[in-house]
Symmetry: C2
Subunit: 267 residues, 2 copies
Amino acid sequence: MNIGIVGAGNVATHLVKGLVKAGVNVPFVYSRTLASAQVLTAHLPSGTATSSPDLRSLPYCDVYLLSVPDQVLPTLLPQLRFPEGAIVAHTSGTQPLELLASLPNVATGVFYPLQTFSKEKELDWRRVPICVEASTQKAEEALTQLGQKISEQVVLMQGTDRRQLHVAAVFACNFTNHLWGVAQEVLKTADLPFNLLEPLVQETVQKAFQFPPFAVQTGPAVRGDASTIQAHLQLLQHQPQYRALYQTLTESIQTVHEKPPFSEKQA
Amino acid sequence: MNIGIVGAGNVATHLVKGLVKAGVNVPFVYSRTLASAQVLTAHLPSGTATSSPDLRSLPYCDVYLLSVPDQVLPTLLPQLRFPEGAIVAHTSGTQPLELLASLPNVATGVFYPLQTFSKEKELDWRRVPICVEASTQKAEEALTQLGQKISEQVVLMQGTDRRQLHVAAVFACNFTNHLWGVAQEVLKTADLPFNLLEPLVQETVQKAFQFPPFAVQTGPAVRGDASTIQAHLQLLQHQPQYRALYQTLTESIQTVHEKPPFSEKQA
């Protein structure tokens, strides 16, 4: 199986590393910036970097994976030329499969790895769920097979479900990471190291996947501990952005955990 | 060392279990509700449950740990009678040491375990940082020694720092747990299981403690990917509470990662 990579960002970088590690042949990496493609081909046993969008002049690939920012796809797609009969799949959590429908004489697909990718951090692909969708049965099988070469968890998933998953991932990953950044900033005002919080965070994660998170919610908001909440808001007075976040999240917790009116009447 | 426990909530429950496991003697548990105290003494090799606030009539303890809700402390404290010369410490992240100053003829302290406690979840006390503060050198040493019996990490910490730590813990634990609950609710609309997100969340945690979280922020907000953000807000239109959270957190990420005005001018 030959896999062509289009893109040279975080996802493309980790894809290249993961595919090479799994023994998959990657004959080339395309990027609009040749130098970026060259950075990735350095990871390949052998492979060409290219910035020319006519991919037909390069070795034939069974699958072309498009790992470029969502906003770049619509302008890039009309420029790319793929060989007849290939499978072209994007790796976006949000974009529909149909976005690729205009590509002539190819089968299309989605190959969405549910993970957060940073170039500076090595990644264990075995534990990355890969969500696959395709325009033909054959393409679905090929993408599933490709996914299974690098991951233990390949899931067939329609676009509507994948988009919900992507929204959930933003809450579960991007937003929580932001809150850890805020926690670090709050600790800095007391010269305390961030890693003091690591056992707490790990316990919170363990608990959230052992019980439904809402069922094991702790803290002043769910306790209705108004005096602690007031004290915390007071402490955050010189960090108005974090103070507003504290307030919004406290209210959100209290809305979720509020007993409905009828039960108050019954009590 | 004899330790008396005042309270029967989540923290008291885990304290009793942790102390017993470490071989520390706990002669009694006090709770305003006798039945609650009895639930905890069931964990003790031998020990009395009591709801009588005169603790002088019970076996002498070197340290009395007060694990009751913050709002209960001010009304409970004037009722409790401790033997002369004992150490009385509360376990609150927010309350000052000075709250205990009115207790006659005892040394006072704080013994704050930085962790999230749920009765349904077993806990590894070895990895729980314990923050200690005390009114006398001797009390500080005793509380440190007690902490070291159950945990590998005992930290001396002033009240002002402890309060900042507590605020940071609310962001790092309570608020992130809430977001995982929201993620689970979002997944439910697509009948997807929450554990699909587990590798993503674990990678996010690993990364956040390996690099500063703000430095490894990913997702549509930090990329300035307006079309994905709009698509997500659209998908959340029937869950207005989560939609508002999405918007607030997206704005907060963009505020943190925005280049300051002067650098825009330089660009």
